[in-house]
């Protein structure tokens, strides 16, 4: 089981999921919009296709941070 802190710029929550869960499932269960901004797993940017990989495929075994960061444009 993996403790995942999932969220975005304004909200974060902690969930525990099994290692066969995909990143997308966690984001959708937590109602996090991942269509904008950059997705980060433990601080590293994710690439297209990565959201359908499981935590075990990323080598995550105990805990991680899965965050969507939207950077506002400078005026």
């Amino acid at each position: 089981m993996i403790k995942v802190t999932v969220g975005n710029n304004v909200k974060r929550e902690t969930v525990i999921v099994d290692s066969a869960t995909t990143l997308r499932q966690v984001l959708e269960d937590a109602n996090i919009d991942y269509t904008r901004g950059t997705m980060h797993l433990d601080g590293s940017s994710l690439n297209p296709g990565d959201l359908d990989k499981t935590f075990s495929q990323f080598g995550i075994t105990e805990k991680c941070f899965l965050l969507n960061v939207v950077k506002a444009d400078n005026a």
Binding site: M1, I2, K3, T14, I16, D18, S19, A20, E62
Partner: protein, 134 residues
Amino acid sequence: MAKATISGDAVVITSAVKLEDYKKVKKYRPNALVLMGGEDGKEPIFRVGVLPNGAGSIGKYGAEFAKETRDEEKLACITMLFTGSSEANIKEAVADEIGAAVLNLNKLELTIPGVLEEIAAEKAQILESITVAQ
């Protein structure tokens, strides 16, 4: 109450709950497999999961079951290798490694029979409302 059996380097953790029952709860009441705690009692601290294959695992944040015992009880079980310890007292070493997780598993197991009764009652209600046209 979950128990651990050591044989050679293998440690088998046997739950007091059947694998089929865990699957049923996962399907109808997934939140019942999460033990809440923390300061406000709203933070998930331990979870039981069911995997389609593998030997399962148990750790700080939960237990994943994929197999059942080979007797008639068909209880959920996890088989793990325990090779890292050179301690003479293997029982102490295993208790140090998985003791906290097994305590949380025990707490969760106590709630499962009640959840299964609720599911059975709801299912019976649904079955009553279904008719088959002749």
